[in-house]
Amino acid sequence: MLHRFQFGSFYLVLDVNSGALHRVSPVAWEILGSYPADEDAVVARHGVRFGADTVRAALGEIADAVRQGNLLAPPPPELSQGGLSFLRALCLHLAHACNMRCGYCFAGQGRYGGGPALMPRDVALRAVDFLLRHSGPHRHLDVDFFGGEPLLNPEVLKETVEYGLSRAQECGKRINFTVTTNGLLLDDRTIDFLNRRRITVIASLDGRRGIHDRWRRLADGGASYERVLPGILSLVRSRGGRNYYVRGTYTRQNLDFAADVRHMAELGIDRVSLEPVVAPPTVPYGLRASDLPAIREQYLEIAEFCYRRAREGRPFSFFHFELDVLHGPCLKKRVSGCGAGHAYLAVAPDGSLYPCHQFVGQPAFRLGSVWEDDFSLPPLGRQFKQLTIHAKAACRECWSKFLCSGGCHASNYALGGGLDRPWPLGCALTRIRLEAALYLQARLAEVPALLK
């Protein structure tokens, strides 16, 4: 199974089943459009345009790549999703409250459809124990502090980190902590703690002041750009280009979002993620299929920007382009995705468990509680475990399946019409992003020293 695509001036071919990527000549590109085929027929078909000798040379190189397993590789086996489930990660909702009122917030201003709440200390520590107890053989675990705004509950956050580090060490495991914050409460003292404990930080900034302030408003309705920027930049400067991402959201109202990426780079931020809003096309800011050509141009521009920065010796990391081309995930991970609902659970302030942070507060998706001594994964969790690319009809013939793993369960449920029905517009956006990421790899390959 091949995916041929053009990005910038490059002709590229992804061998879907092996993950190999090739930059090809125009004649090889044409040949691969209906390959394999009889050599004489191929020469007859393309020889007039490219010359018979050129066509034969291209055929020879294509045959070599096939022999090496880099083209037209057979499909990998469909792995069983049976067996025990072990936890790898928890998302702790430290605060169902927020000091901002972002217009596109999926979490109902941080309250997830309920009242305001902070996670008590005993729930947070119990959640750490729950993770360690149910993690089986996994040695590397993750805990993400989320909200609302998790820094509204700072003492519980700090105590959970200290407790988690200590308990993990006793168990011969490691926990990596992450905090996702809007940046309003990132003062020097907090940054110092996060740095000392090597906590990954994801801080929110949408880009240019006007774009950011359009949706990201303070609780009193005021603009937030000036208020969040000092803390975010202070954090960035303290991190030496590691262990953080500044992430933003683009909507239909900034389809020139490459300018927002450049703006953040000009601020000195060198690790950026900018992602599409997840919203139906019926709302004014929701992306539409007709926007895709413009969006593709923006990703091309961002890829060229990343390339220029790499050439200048000032690498700029755009999260979605950071494909690990040599040590990427194993097949099991590629077909099964994020693990929500079985390897990854979200914990609400009262200890209730949900498949991930996006399902929190939806009674039909409650999986249990950290207070259950004999917790076992309920049928809904096992259903999530079966949501592989093989279970999704739309994924079977899609070229991006081993890279996107079938998309986000929550987006699929909210906008695709079911857990096993990928959101078509989300898929289109992901495919554009992946093409741009692959293009950047091909671009960097022109200067081998730039490749990781």
């Binding site: 190189e61 294509i62 790549a65 067996g83 994801i202 999260f319 942070h357």
Partner: protein, 51 residues
């Protein structure tokens, strides 16, 4: 290096061990930045299989 087919990324999809102790492929925190599994790194020995 050929002129018609330049391999940028060699074949990379391989079977793994579902209970690999070293697994650090984590979309859970990364998904706050809309993760795709492809940009995660395998931490197993030599990039494959359990330690």
């Amino acid at each position: 290096m050929g002129q018609h087919v330049i391999t940028v990324i060699p074949a990379q999809i391989r079977e793994g061990e579902p209970s690999c102790q070293e697994c650090q492929v984590s979309c859970q925190s990364a998904c706050k930045t809309s993760c795709t599994v492809g940009n995660q790194t395998c931490a197993g020995e030599n990039g494959e299989g359990p330690a």
